[in-house]
Amino acid sequence: MSDVFVRAAATWTADRGAPTAALIPAPQRRRCSLATRIVAEVTGTLVDRGLPLLDAAIVHGTGFGEIVTTAALLDMMRDGDGALSPMRFAGSVHNTACGQLSIAQGHTGVSTTISAGVQTLAAAWIEAMGLFADHEHVLLVVADEPMPATMPPHHDGLAVGLWLSRNPGDPCVARARWVAPQRNVAVAPRVPAPLLHSPVRFASSLVDALGQSIRVRLEPDDARGCAASLELTAP
């Protein structure tokens, strides 16, 4: 498996304040959930660093998707006559963030949303590798908004965007080689307590490791004690 080059990375966490999500025009943005705005936020940071968004394939990984909107729909169903808001229903699908981004930016290329629980980051990486056959650039974004209080256990919001390319000549922050699930790949990273239950929690430690030559896990151990990882090399 050949190497992937991480051109740039961007992270959003709650301590950075409300996302501006400037890639989405204000009238459209006002109707967007936090789950969508944090995806737009990290994408915007990467666009500012040169990501050619319209030429890139987009892989969006999320464990729970538009979970706050889903909880609101469940409330509506159990209150009054049970009627739902049509706009919120249409915005409850997992690919809402990709849809809003494509509308805002005119992205007509390949864009997909995948989900695999705590393996979402590893799965998104695999999906991105598949897309390199037809694309020079892949935008990988994994994101989960904070869980509603009625859906414990709680976790804080997290979005991580990675601009990936296959061209060794490009400046990059890390070279990454996929390592299929195996035993004892690396010590599991320390995850901040507010993110302990986030499906995409390992993404923040991946960003922290960029720039080092180190093996990083993409997921917790599975039932066999195996985990997928990346072999990172400093540029």
Partner: protein
């Protein structure tokens, strides 16, 4: 390959039902009397004891769908090694029906209710992994109604990139209150059942079920996955581009990836939901890319719209028609909306071709066109 929907739980049963013109659409047997007619699969066998903590309707549908091809998957596990067999499933609803059943506004979910093992999309992957033994990469593609068509694109890319040698690919979605009430709120549910491409069409019917195929790097299958073209409309969250621009782009990309001319596509299994705008936009796209003479079949009048499982269901039905050399009637299409200008198949007819296309379009403007061919 196999499928499970309101018509039956295996390929042969569903094929016979369609040949006989049987509809699986009926009023839902729910206490609040949902509007419209929908494709309900009825009571489903419980999960094995080892999967009791994952026992949802979605999980039951997944396991029930997979049953007829478990022996084939086991052979693939032995042939390639289980860690080289991936699992990519399109789903939109996941197990949300389980959450609906216990939800009380403003009150935390009951202690012991595990969202990850029931509601979340990976729960479907986990139960399928448990019953089929595939140990390669496993994930859900969730792009609403194009989910399981795009899963075929992902599966083909995984094999091409050397990340897997075989993929159990398809889709599973279960009927739930959220989707029935949601489409009712959008005023898209047809009171008398879906009639795709009919002059008097008035909306869609929902459905549930699944469809699975075993893709392998090489083998002796009768049908090939030739190419998948994907695009975004970049237009509106819940309405298609009126000229079908995004749909046409996906269809062109599929042709380009396949290295085929439009004239080599023998028929189209259309997304054909039965809503006024979707069918019109799709007809425009088909006419622009494949021409007005290509036969167009819509099968949602039999099964309802299986949402995240619709693409896989219709890819399997496309493969079935290619193999049998016989196009099914588009149930409910007569009298056809002549203003669409396309050749909607109203009665079964013979077909002699090597390639066919199945199209899927979704909320968020997500489009996929999949070309299948005879081996």
């Amino acid at each position: 390959m196999t499928l499970c929907n309101a018509l039956g739980a295996d390929l042969a049963t569903v094929a016979v039902a369609i040949e006989n013109g049987t509809s699986g659409l009926a009023p839902l047997p729910w206490s609040w009397h949902p509007p419209g007619l929908h494709g309900w699969c009825g009571e489903l066998p419980p999960l094995p004891a080892s999967l009791q903590d994952r026992d949802t309707r979605q999980a039951r549908l997944a396991v029930h769908t997979a049953a007829p091809i478990l022996a084939d998957i086991e052979r693939a596990n032995r042939r390639w090694g289980a860690s080289r067999v991936a699992l990519i499933i399109g789903t939109s609803t996941g197990g949300i029906a389980a959450t609906e059943a216990v939800w009380r506004p403003g009150v935390p979910l009951p202690a012991g209710f595990d969202l990850g093992r029931t509601h979340a999309l990976q729960a479907t992957i986990a139960v399928l992994r448990a019953v089929c033994g595939a140990r390669g990469p496993g994930y859900a593609v969730s792009t609403a109604c194009s989910s399981s068509a795009k899963a075929f694109g992902s599966a083909a890319r995984l094999i091409a990139a050397g990340l897997a040698d075989a993929v159990v690919v398809g889709g599973v979605d279960s009927l739930c209150e959220t989707t029935v009430r949601g489409f009712a709120a959008l005023e898209l549910v047809a009171a008398g059942g879906a009639r795709p491409f009919a002059a008097c069409r008035g909306g869609l019917s929902l459905g549930e079920g699944g469809a699975l195929a075993l893709l392998e790097r090489r083998g002796d299958a009768a049908t090939l996955l030739v190419a998948c073209g994907e695009s975004c409309d970049a237009h509106h969250m819940s309405a298609p581009h009126p000229e079908g621009d995004g749909a046409a782009l996906a269809m062109r990309r599929a042709l380009t990836a396949a290295g085929l001319d439009a004239a080599q596509i023998g028929f189209v299994n259309a997304h054909g939901t039965g809503t006024v705008l979707n069918d019109r936009a799709e007809a425009r796209a088909i006419g622009r890319v494949l021409g007005l003479a290509v036969p167009v079949v819509a099968t949602k009048g039999y099964t309802g719209h299986l949402l995240g499982a619709a693409g896989a269901t219709e890819i399997v039905l496309t493969a079935l028609a290619l193999q049998s050399g016989r196009l099914p009637a588009s149930r409910g299409a007569t009298p056809v909306d002549e203003t669409l200008g396309i050749d909607v198949v109203e009665r079964p007819r013979p077909i002699d071709c090597e390639y066919a296309m199945s199209t899927s379009f979704a909320f968020g403007g997500s489009n996929a066109a999949v070309i299948v061919g005879l081996a």
